[in-house]
Each structure stands twice: as structure tokens, then as C-alpha cells.
Assembly symmetry: C2
Amino acid sequence: MIEILKKIAPSEKEKEKFSRTAEKLLAEVEKEVKKIDSRISIALLGSASRDTWLRCEKDMDVFVLFPLEYEKAQLEKIVTQIGRKILKKPEKRYAEHPYVKGFYDDFEVEIVPCYAIESPSHLKSAVDRTPFHDAFVKEHIKGKENEVRLLKQFLSGISCYGAEAKVEGFSGYLCELLIAKYGSFEEVLKATQNWKRGEIIHFGNVSEEGLREKFPSPLIFIDPVDANRNVASALSEQKFSKFIFAAKEYLKKPRREFFFPRKRVVNRKALLKKFKQRGTELLALTFSKPNVVDDILYTQLRRALNVLKNLLQNKDFSVIGIDYSVSNRICIFIELESLEIPSARLHLGPEVNTWHERKFLEKYENYRGKFTEPFIIGRRWAIFLKRSNNAKKFLQEFLSQRNLEEKGMPSHVAQSLEKDFSIKINEGAFLEEFLPALQEYFDPRFAWER
Amino acid sequence: MIEILKKIAPSEKEKEKFSRTAEKLLAEVEKEVKKIDSRISIALLGSASRDTWLRCEKDMDVFVLFPLEYEKAQLEKIVTQIGRKILKKPEKRYAEHPYVKGFYDDFEVEIVPCYAIESPSHLKSAVDRTPFHDAFVKEHIKGKENEVRLLKQFLSGISCYGAEAKVEGFSGYLCELLIAKYGSFEEVLKATQNWKRGEIIHFGNVSEEGLREKFPSPLIFIDPVDANRNVASALSEQKFSKFIFAAKEYLKKPRREFFFPRKRVVNRKALLKKFKQRGTELLALTFSKPNVVDDILYTQLRRALNVLKNLLQNKDFSVIGIDYSVSNRICIFIELESLEIPSARLHLGPEVNTWHERKFLEKYENYRGKFTEPFIIGRRWAIFLKRSNNAKKFLQEFLSQRNLEEKGMPSHVAQSLEKDFSIKINEGAFLEEFLPALQEYFDPRFAWER
């Protein structure tokens, strides 16, 4: 454990450098805001202020706290001005409301405007809670900062660290709260072994009634500064399950590989052999990467998978698995029982001698796409109809339409597809750039078992 | 209609010949029974006695009515003796109890022993009802015999005539009762248009409560001589539906083809083309015909279809259709989406962190038939396992076992399969002998529309 901590906890020297830089930055920001209004205050919040940052993380979150009478538009304008003046490569970003991101020395800095509210029950925007989070965490994890670091690194090693759409895992704040709740890294891992789906955790004074309906999430961790918020709302079933199982395995046999997994070596030939043994078929759809922030990109990619899967299944193609991989381009790969299916499908109609019978018989009387006349199976009408029989051809035609967004495809993915796409199959679908993702699909291994 | 009747109703001359033969036969039987016991009586029953027989039917059912104190074994012995003496090619047959079948002049004769009971409520065997059926029908269809003949021929033309397992249609007695109930052939057809599945028909004095649970059959026609019996119990959903639709079409446009359908010409080449267009695959299993009566044969064949269908579906083969054809040999043909399926199948296991998790992981730790290690999908464990990938090979192996009856295959079919069988696929499955059945399958046509 000491060995792990050595790698992830910043040294005294690093902390000193960090503090010096932070002081300098805060002084500069303070100077600017005081020019505008002496009532505006500033604060360094987040892991930087709580001493729970990992050595590899070089983030500083500077909050600018405005009096309540300021308009949102003013907040944005002021913070943008300050960012432009102080930061290198300043960029305006939007979460629920705007903030500025840029660089200061080696550090990645966010300058975030919020309202100086008296209590979290008077929220004007989501970020107004942050100062209260900071106070709560500082009070409850004093002396346990390294436990937070261990938990963060463990989650990072098993790809469960971060609440962003790309990960759908555990946020830094959630890690801090888990340590505050259970006391140490190891106690958190032990606690997970009793978690059930829909597990509710809080610091008291919360009624559990109706919480599972309100928060349809595998884990419900009530925010100690706002009982109406589930801190774990971004956590997916997949990452919830994975964390619990990783904890089980770690407790059985602790290993450094949980924190620092080995890199997998990709062997194209071995991978192709694995694929061929399965006897299935593969389709890879590649298109250019939409120029949007990751949170939007990954959310849309997940929706796109659903759209494509349903589309193929509605056409009777049997989808075994579907996943995406993001590189310079995007690849959505789909494993199918078969790329070709029969042209004929048995279509069951209404029962004989019911009201719908006549409509059914009239509809198919001179229908072009039929293989047989209507006939009776047991109590029902039936007929063999024609259908698309090739998945590649079907997708090619579907994606060549000009109005993919109307067909349910998420906007940015739709635009990208309308510009260009390509479909490769089987061996041709094993594109160099996406081999790691294909390997994870065809030969899944837990990070600590590579 | 007159034209139809001319073809199906016996002429006066034929009726005369029929009567003379019947008299002669009855006299001979009577002479024999009186030698044994003067209390034994005889009667000509069935369509012969009711004058509802079709010209093509040359059947006579002679019932021998015994006093109640006779043992069943004695009935059998006596009737067998008489049959051997009077009939040509006498053969013992078994329905619920034994009877003798043979020939007398040109006629097919059955000599059936039963008990001379006073009322159908004192039944000792199923055939004891027949004399009462006779009395009821004679009383109610007087003058409407030709209406019965039209209905019988209509049903015959659409393959719905006969309650035997081969047909699963309408018995002669049921035809007579329908005419008794509705008055004429056309009124029966009209009545069917209001039939719902589970239709209940009776001649009064019957409580309908609980009848549908008691008789799970599409049509429930309560026997006027025994309220505990459904005369239509052998009728399948298929034939029930077909009759109703045929009636609808006939009422719209009466045609002689309903009574006398054209023979279909089989064109092997055209049929093969139809099959290839569908893009499906065909498997034909042929084996020798078990030497049992039709009622047992067809019942077992239908069960065998279910066994084979479930077997294939349990192994993930997608069965589109399955049917049998009886010729000198038996052929069971199965249309599949594909004869080959991938070797890999996704197997979903228990939820993560549940009691079953450990058993699942232990089971597959050193499992031979796996393509991947266990992994997590959402909240559940999953793994890719190996499976049979060729339907022909799989069936070949299954049917080569020595204990097919234990595996659910009906006894006579099992024995026949254990002796020999052969499996042909696709073009090779289009065996000359079974082309008519394949044509009905791949290009189904109603009898009146050929």
C-alpha cells in the first residue's frame, strides 16, 4: 500500500509547488474581481483544496462567488474576461452554465462562476453547491486524504473513475463521501460486498421512502448538502457491478495490478483466429468523429448503438453484440449471427373469422413482396413475405438517407454519418486503429487479470 | 347443387343393391348369433342405416348387441368367430374395444360388439351409444339426408371430413347433427360465420357453465344422447378455421371446386425455384412407415414433429416450419433459417454479487466449451460458450442413439428410426415421393383455388 501511495500521492515538494502556484493564481484572479465589485469573492475548491488530488491530476478549480443580484449573463461575461486575461489557451465551456477552461503554468485551470448562497436549499445553479461540498468533505475526511487517493486510483485502474459520460463511474466527490462514510479504502471495498442494486447510502436524517423511484440508479448516495440529489446518479449498472466484483477479488488477493493494470498486447492474428472459431460475422461502421465535447459524444454514441441494434433486430438480423470505439475516427462494430438471412419470413396475421381477416386478405391479395398466398396455421392467418436479406446492404441503404436524425439517430452522429461512412465486414472489419476495442470484445479480460 | 348431388348421392339402383346386400349380410350374422344366445340382437347402424352415405362410401357397420352379463372377452371372441366365418379378409381391430373388419361382396364391413343398454347414461363402452345416435339422427334428419351428403362432400373437398387422427376434422355423426341443428347445408355454412373459438352448440337442456374448461376444443357440440360428450372433440383448430373460411368463400361464390377440387400438378423445377428464392434451408428426414393403424401413426407423427422442433430450437436452430408426409415411407421435412449457425452463443448468467455468482464462476473456470472468460454485461454475468453448429450433424447424432423413446420420441416412430433413417438437405430433400406435400408447404393453396 505504501508503494502504491508513493506513486499516486504528491510529494511534499510537489504539494509546495502546487500551493505556490495556487496562491499566485488566486491572487491574480482576486485582483481582477476586486476591480469590478469588492463583494465578489473567490475560492479554490475541489480536490485541490481538499488535498485529495492524485499526482497525475494537475487540476485547479477556482470558483468566483457573486452576490445574488447579478444576472447569469454578467457572470459569464466577467469570468470570460478574467479567464482571457490570466489563462493560456482560454476556452469557454458549458456544463449547466458556462465556465472558462485554460492553462496556468503546468496546471489545467477552470474558472467557474457561482452565486454566494447562504444554504444549499437556495440553489440558483448546480455549481452553487460546490462550496458546501468543500466544507463537508474537509470536515469529514481530515487525515484520510490518502484513503481517498487509494480509492480513486483503484477505481481508475478498473476504468470506473469519473462521472463523465465516457466512463459512467464514480466522481471524485463520490469517492470522498465513500471514505467519509466508511472510514478507509479497505472498509469501502468491504462495504460493497453487501451492496444490492438500488443501495441507498446517506449520513442520516433522510427518509428512504420513494427514493428508488426518484433515483433509478444502481447506487443512491444522498448528497449530504442537498437531500434532493443523488451523487451517484451517473453511475451505470455495468460500472457498479464491476466495482463490486473487483473489490471482491482485491479483498481475496490484493495486487498492484488493480491500481496499475498491465497494458494488453494486441495480436491481430490471434484475435482473427478467435473470431473465426466463433463462426459469427462482424460488421464495422466507421465515420468521422463529431467535433463535440466528450460528454455529448459518448452519450450520443450510446444512443446510436441502441438505434442501430433495434433497427437490425426489427429487420430480423440477430445481433449478438454491439459496441463502439473512439480513436481519430469512430467505429461501431456489430457482431451478428449471420450477415445474410433468408429472404422469406413467416408473417403471422389475425385469427380466422375475426374483423381483421378481411383487411389482411385484401392487403396481401395483389401484394408484390410475397412468396406465398395467405394460408391458415391453427387458428391464425399466415403468409411468407419478402425482407432485406443482407445486413451490410440494408445498413448501407439506411445510412445513405439524408434525414437520419428524423429516424432517431442522435444529431451529431447523424451529421457525421451524412458526411461519410464506410462499412467493412468480417476480416476487413479488423481495422488496426480499433483492434484494442475488438480485443476487449472478443476476448474480454478484467484489468487486473491481463 | 343438383349436379353435385347426382355425383354423391347413390342412385335408386345403388340403394337397392345396398339394401339387398345388407339384408343378406344381416341374415347371415343373425343366424350365427342366434345359435349362441337368442337374446343377442343385431342392427345395421351408421350412415348405412340413416341413408346418409355417400356414393363413394361402401361401408356397413353391423352392431351385435349383447346382454349386460356378458364379459368383454366373450364379446370379442364371439364377434371374431362370426367375422371369420362370414367376411372375406377378416381382421381384428382395436378402437376402445375390439371389432372385426372385412369385406362382404364389394362392401367394407365392420362387425362391432356392444352392450344392449337401456339408456346412454348406463354406458359400459363408448360404442354402446351408437344405437341411440342412430335413433336420434333418424328422427331429426328425416327428409334432409341429401343435405347431410352435401355437407360431407363439402368437408371432404376441403380435407376436413373425418374425425380420425389423420384428418382431425368433422365426423359423419357431427355432420348429421349440424344438419339436424341448422336445417340445411347452406344454413350450416351461414351459421359458421358467427362461430367463435370455443363455440358451444347443443339441443337444449345443457348448462354452458364450465364447458369450455371441460372441453378444450374450438367447437363444442354436446352429444344429444350424452351431455358428457363433445362430438367435435377430435376437431383441430386448423380444420375448424379452414371450414369457416371455406364456408365464407363458398357463400360468396359457390363453385363445384369446393366439393371436387382439382388435382394439383407438381412441377419439381418450379418448386425448387420457389424454395431457392426464399433463401432458407430444408432438411428431410425419411424413415420406414411403422406398421400400426393410422390413428396411432398420425398421432405419433404429430408428437414427433413437436419433439424434433423443440429439440432444434433448444439448440438455437431457427425452425421456420415443420411437417410430415406419409407415402410408402415417412418423410418429416423441416425448413430452417439456416442449417449452420455460429459455434458461439452468448450465455447470460446470474447477477453480479448474488449467491449464484460463485457457482457460475467456478463452473466456467476450467470449462472446455468456452470461447471467452466470464465478463459483465450491465448487472449480469455473461460468457460465450460453444454449441452444435450444424443441424444435419446434430440430428444425425441425436437420432443415432439407441433410446429415442426415453428422449421423448413416440414409441413406433422411435422404433422405426432406430432401424434406419436418412437425412437429405436442400435440393436433395426434394424427394419425388413427397413432392406433393412439399408443394403444399412451399406454395399453399386452398383446395378450391388450385
